[in-house]
């Protein structure tokens, strides 16, 4: 199984071809192909997860050969503890997204083909160790997303899709500039080799015109901020977040699930894989700014979510708040902070996916998302109520559920950061915890409790298909809350190495 990563990554591509070649009008076949094309990678990823060597921080399942010799770009893939969990999450969420999409009627062939292409792009980003390859997959991912929002979205889908596209494209352009500069300076696209150069302090742009300086700023600082903004848009970090509510609100439910569950993680993962380790000195100098952005995202996102009346917008802003923890954990530069941030990415992937599925369930029935327009649904949809409550409490970070582990580790890590100002950050972000509880409880109250609106009297409870979509995610929320070592053990060596690297490299 030397090529397992390539198989996982490109099987959906085969599925996509099959979907395109499927006879016109046979939507059942298309759905079946999509299920298989996402299910097999999921099984492979599960196998991969458990055959992963937890004791080493080095890259595993590596494949490396020249791809475009002219540029020096290689097909260089491999995984370590930072990416393995996210690969598993990606395959799982895509596998869930397929049945969650069964209610979509419009142009199904194209829809599933794009969905599978999206999976290729996402998985490619997670396995790439070559920056050129990374960028190519990054861009591959962008296009299907644009069409998936722009064609299958809500009433203002064009606006949302273009906003999403322009935002992420801006980020990509900044990234591209930085990548070119890094390539020129280091002479390689390989991320591990760039890291080696950065470790010995050689990646300073001294070989470039200007001798490592540009308009009075260090080369590394430019690179850092270009890459950081590129990834921060994806995360999204305040103030680059405004594409998110629009994209989420307009996107169809399964796309929201993928968007919140995985695409946001790409930003965090990108920072960890392809931004901080390349310019560690600039990163260390910017920790304070990153911490501020993280805290602002946490508190601000929570407050804005509290002020929403649209169910999906509320959930979207809660993502801003939750992803703030990731940034705060990174900025803290402690092992706990990194464990917290890395697990938070996974746990937010499950809990936010559940929340969007929850919104999708009610939207499919009521065709609106106005929180004030519901009420008393617990009476007609008790199962829905139970699952929603569990999902919301997982998102709230209640102990015993997965969110608590990551949030607690992040906050503890941030509190023990070398910079004492992070103590203040933790104190402020705790406000976010309370507000998060407030808006989630308020949402539960407004949707499920109180008097039942006569309009909703005949609503059926969740169908088995809908339960099937949510159950594995909720299961993960519970299991990872009780046994967090199913995540932490896997990432431990890599996190230890990464934190050590970031603390010491380049100085």
């Amino acid at each position: 199984m030397d090529h397992i990563l390539s198989w996982i990554c490109f099987l959906p591509l085969i599925g996509m071809t099959a979907v395109i070649l499927a006879p016109k009008g046979n939507n059942t076949l298309v759905k079946a192909i999509s299920l298989v094309a996402t299910g097999v990678p999921f099984l492979l990823a599960t196998w991969l997860y458990f055959s992963f060597d937890k004791t080493t921080a080095s890259y595993q399942f590596v494949q490396r050969f020249d791809w475009i010799p002219l540029l020096g770009a290689q097909y260089y893939v491999g995984i370590d503890g930072l990416s393995i969990a996210l690969i598993f999450l990606t395959t799982l969420l895509l596998f869930i997204a397929v049945p969650a999409s069964f209610s979509i009627e419009k142009a199904q062939k194209a829809y599933y083909a794009l969905l599978l292409l999206l999976e290729v792009g996402i998985l490619g980003v997670f396995i790439s160790l070559d920056y050129f390859l990374f960028y190519v997959f990054w861009e591959i991912m962008l296009l299907p997303m644009y069409f998936l929002i722009g064609i299958w979205g809500g009433p203002r889908r064009e606006y949302a899709a273009i906003k999403f596209f322009l935002y992420t494209l801006t980020g990509s352009v900044l990234m591209l500039v930085a990548i070119v500069a890094l390539r020129l300076d280091s002479g390689t696209f390989s991320i591990p080799e760039m890291m080696n150069l950065a470790r010995s302090g050689q990646l300073t742009g001294a070989s470039l015109p200007g001798g490592g300086q540009l308009i009075g700023l260090e080369f590394a600082t430019w690179i850092f901020w270009f890459l950081f903004i590129g990834f921060a848009i994806k995360v999204p970090v305040f103030p680059f977040h405004t594409w998110l509510p629009d994209a989420h609100v307009q996107a169809p439910t399964p796309i929201s699930v993928i968007l919140a569950g995985i695409l946001l993680k790409l930003g965090g993962y990108g920072m960890l894989r392809a931004c901080f380790p390349l310019v560690p000195t600039a990163f260390r100098e910017s920790c304070f700014a990153l911490g501020v952005l993280g805290v602002v995202s946490i508190v601000y996102g929570a407050y804005v979510a509290l002020g929403q009346t649209d169910f999906k917008r509320m959930v979207a802003y809660s993502s801003v708040s939750h992803m703030g923890y990731v940034l705060l954990g990174f900025a803290a530069l402690t092992e706990w902070g990194y464990y917290g941030a890395a697990t938070q990415m996974f746990n937010h992937g499950t809990s936010s996916a559940v929340m969007f599925l929850v919104v999708g369930v009610i939207y499919d029935r009521a065709h609106h998302r106005d929180l004030n327009g519901f009420g008393g649904l617990a009476q007609v949809m008790p199962r829905y109520w139970a699952l929603t409550t569990l999902g919301f409490f997982a998102a709230m970070g209640l102990p015993g559920l997965a969110g608590f582990v990551s949030e607690a580790m992040t906050l503890v890590g941030a509190y023990s950061a070398p910079d004492p100002v992070f103590k203040l950050f933790v104190l402020i972000s705790v406000i976010g915890l309370v507000i998060t509880a407030a808006f989630l409880l308020w949402a539960i109250q407004r949707v499920f409790l109180g008097n039942l609106n006569e309009k909703y009297k005949d609503y059926t409870d969740m169908s088995p298909r809908e339960i099937f979509c949510q159950a594995p995610l909720l299961f993960l929320c519970v299991v990872l809350g009780i046994f967090p070592f199913f995540l932490l053990d896997w990432m431990e060596p890599s996190v230890v190495q990464m934190v050590d690297f970031l603390k010491t490299a380049g100085s």
Partner: protein
Amino acid sequence: MKFDPSTDFGLLLAVLLIPLIGYTIQIFFGKKLPRQGDWMLTGGMGVVMLITVYLAIKAIAAGAHGDGHAVDFLHSSQDHGFAFKWLFDEAKGPGLLNVVAGILYDPLGAVMLAVVGIVCFCVHLFSIGYMQGDRRYHIFFANISLFSFAMLGLVLADNILFLFLFWEIMGLMSYLLIGHFSQDPSNPFFHRWATWASKKAFLTTRIGDCLLFIGIFIFYREFTTAWETVPAFKEALPRFQPFLFTDMWEMGRLVVAQNGGEFPAWMTAAGLCCFGGTIGKSAQFPLHIWLPDAMAGPTPVSAMIHAATMVAAGVFLLGRMYPLMSPEVLAVVTVVGATTALFAATIGMVVYDIKAVLAYSTISQLGFMVAAVGMGGLVAGMFHMVTHAFFKACLFLSAGSVIHGCHHVQDMRLMGGVRKHMPVTFVCMLVCTAAIAGVYQFSGYFSKDAILLAGWASVLDNAVFSGWNLYALISLAIAAMFTAFYMFRLIFMTFFGEYRGNLETHMYSAQIAAEGVEGPEPHAHDDHHGDEHGHDAHLPHEAPLRRNPMTISLVILAVFAVPGVAALLNGWITHLMTPLSMYGPTAGAFAAEKISEGILDHDSHLGRQAHYLAVGVSLFVATAGIVAAWFLYVRRRDLPEVITTKLGLVYTAVRRRYFVDEMIDIAFIQPTLKLTTFFRTFDEKVVDGFVLLNGSIHKGLAFFMAWIDKTIVDGLVNLVGLVSQAFGAATRLLQTGRIQQYAAFAVAGGLLLASWLILS
């Protein structure tokens, strides 16, 4: 009968697993089980009760032998390899990154565990009768089972992170249980209120939880830094785990010793934060506001919250963290506790809702416990928690019984004379009221006596004297008198006189007309229990025979309050619980440094002196309170109105609960909502507006360019056309045919370019 680690830790684990497994089965299959699974969970809880009582007896036996005190009764399962590695699967040495959870079994835990087991079993039993006919009967049972599980886990947790974990689960379960009626409009209870109350309870306690969370951070951060930097600490604690209680106590001792016997400032800050958790969970001022509203939940839940779980958790946390609390923190604890005790007692005297009286009495009694801990009466506080758990659970269940009997009326002005109709309930309630009022030899007498003793000892002892202790002593004495008064007011109003439920006019009618009925509206004729008693007889009634479980649980709980049993309890607990037995030899001695000698040793001169004063005061205040209640509510029933009129504004303020809710609304909730609106507008208008403005600028630029293109560039082209017109027929060439026009332009451009090249 010694504690045997090889088997008894297994039993303790079973205590946790039985309700958890029961919950899991119930939540999935409860509805399909016979009787909706109530027998399963109640039986499971019965087993839990038996185990906890058995283990408590073992502990008491350990306390009884030796020199009369249980020393060295502290069992940590981690010492016996009995542990759950939480964050990482493999142990990471004495590293700082591992959280290993085990069971900590000490006198405090032993006693608390037995109390929780007994009370939770009684509540389960009571619920079988009380909740019958509820649409979500099985869910209710599942939830109270998990609620019990959380409390049991909290008691047994040996590290503060797991304590916090169970603490939060309890918060969640209280949210679900208080809101139990909130989605069932067919239920006669007040669902709208329940929704609101459950959310309020969760959010208010969560503020405290966040403070506790911060406190944990501070302890973790400072302890690990100290451990890593000071070699002596490393030697003393080679396998240091920063969250483990025993290690925290030990580290606290070492840090203070290294600091020259003074508590460092950060320990004060951390201790205050942890006390914040207690303020939230144990409903201390000013976060007490959720507790009176929490009675919107079903009465068994109220009994559970007010007695053995939830509010007890806060006090229990104080017990766990006591060695780490600096004298400054303890002063704050004292003041907050004493203030809460007095403050809630005054409100308790003026409310008419029977459950509200009990709720405010709970807040007041919690204030007693907290203040006791603050003054050094650690054991007294814990003992009061135990006695209070029994009699308050009984009082609530009795109140539930009364409410049930009085057709879901909660306003005491509509009761009266219930004694004749519900004799068993009356007896139980009377016993427990005597206990809470501190009548001689009833359980409350012993614990309140111990608290007052602690107060006197700390006031008389020059070593620990502070003005705050004096303030607390006086406040507590007054609060004790008020307690006796309002509890007997409750008894007299409810059980004596004539039944007023059916009367159209009576002494309170004017007041009710002015203020409305407290508690839920009585649902006069659509009683859902109407099958059990005729509508014609609107008289109170004891629970019918098939609801026997209700009465049985009342009796079980009341037994712990009666003289004799109470004295036994007192003896056992004072022998079992000492700082040394609770925290181990070294940490215990360290904790005892903050406690007055008179509290630790009752036979010392100071102890005797304080004891006599305490007995005197408590007997006096109890008698005074009872007599006043009898005088005002039996003898001269016209007086209360006269007094309230005389008090005027003061009475109004107390009636309105000192406007705390309103003030919190103005000070916090409204600003939060405003801030929310502001942030939302900011996000939509400014942040997004900036993005859109950016877009608009570019769009405008694009239009400008297009305009230039159209007017100037295209104009030039058209100019060429005009020039061509001079050649006659060629004009039309430029004005027709789209693609061809482009081709023409291209060629013309090429020609122009060529000519420019040639001419230049």
